[in-house]
Each structure stands twice: as structure tokens, then as C-alpha cells.
Symmetry: C2
């Protein structure tokens, strides 16, 4: 998988198909809402398993029923294809975990 | 357990025996470091179980091998005894989880 830092137009094009994600800086970010803390943690555990599987680890903030993922690629000094692949995988896991 | 908001002197006295904790605002906070992401997640899962058991849920930020807990009591609008009880419990769990 490419670890080349994406350009702004490349990032914008990829965010167009991920409307729930934003780019608050040198990372892409989304906040998911679940029914409660237990639902949020079930999602976090899936995310953790995937992060280990692909060896790409988002920052994860848990605030009761909300989980915010922040993705960037430290080795590339910015946002890469790897972040978008993880974002798509996270969205699929969120749906399976009962994301509202 | 009391849900009365603690005064600043009361908070200071309690932080004296929790040297790793700070008070960056209307919350108390500590960052724990583990060997890796898997170690960090093992701690987070313990924290999650305890949070459900006592029905008091810290904000949890996971950044690879680091876990930051932020504690406040929303119902009291500030920091209460409940936050310090959780902080002590978290420190015990961190030691059991291999916190560096």
C-alpha cells in the first residue's frame, strides 16, 4: 500500500465519498455515535483488532457513547491512501456495531 | 458516594497523593504509557469494565501505546470524590496492566 502523502486535491476527492469525515488538520476525522458506552466500546474493540491486523493505528477518543477516530500516517508526515482505506473499513465496522 | 463538587483546596489535597494526575481544567487527567497498542487496549478494556461497574465513565484517548483518562462528574458540574475514587482504581489497574 502506498505511503505517499496525498495532495490536497487527492484528499478532497477521497473525502467526497466519505461525507461523515472531515479534515481538521493533518489528519482525517470522524465521530461515531452509539446507543451507550457499551456499544461504543464494542466498536472500539473491533477498531483495535483491525488496527493491529493492518498495523495502522488511529487515535481513538471515547466520550461515553461517542467515538472519534483521527487518522494520519506518521511515516509519511500526512494523510495517505492507508488512512482512507482504514476510514472505509471503520465505517463498515460502525454499521455492524450499531452506529446511529 | 458524594456527588458534591469539590472545592479547589479539596482538589489540591487529593491531587497531592496522585502525583501523576493533573487538573487541566474542570477535570483531572493522567496519561499512561504501555509497551505497545495491545498493552494500551488491555488497560482500556479494564477501564471500560470498571466504568460500567461503577457507572462513571472517563473520557479515554488512545494514541498507540498511550492512554489518557480525563475525569469529571457531569451531574455535579465539576470534580467530585467519585473522580478521585476512579483515579485510584485506574492507577491500580494500570500497574496490573504493565504501565511503564
Amino acid at each position: 500500500m502506498s505511503l505517499t502523502k496525498l495532495s490536497e486535491p487527492e484528499i478532497t476527492a477521497r473525502l467526497d465519498v466519505l461525507p461523515e469525515w472531515s479534515q481538521p488538520g493533518e489528519e482525517i476525522q470522524r465521530t461515531y455515535r452509539f446507543a451507550d458506552f457499551v456499544g461504543a466500546m464494542a466498536f472500539v474493540d473491533r477498531i483495535a483488532d483491525e488496527a493491529e491486523r493492518v498495523q495502522h493505528h488511529p487515535d481513538i477518543l471515547i466520550r461515553y457513547s461517542r467515538v472519534t477516530l483521527s487518522l494520519s500516517t506518521h511515516d509519511a508526515g500526512g494523510i495517505t491512501e492507508k488512512d482512507f482505506e482504514f476510514a472505509h473499513a471503520a465505517d463498515r465496522m460502525a454499521t455492524a456495531s450499531g452506529c446511529k
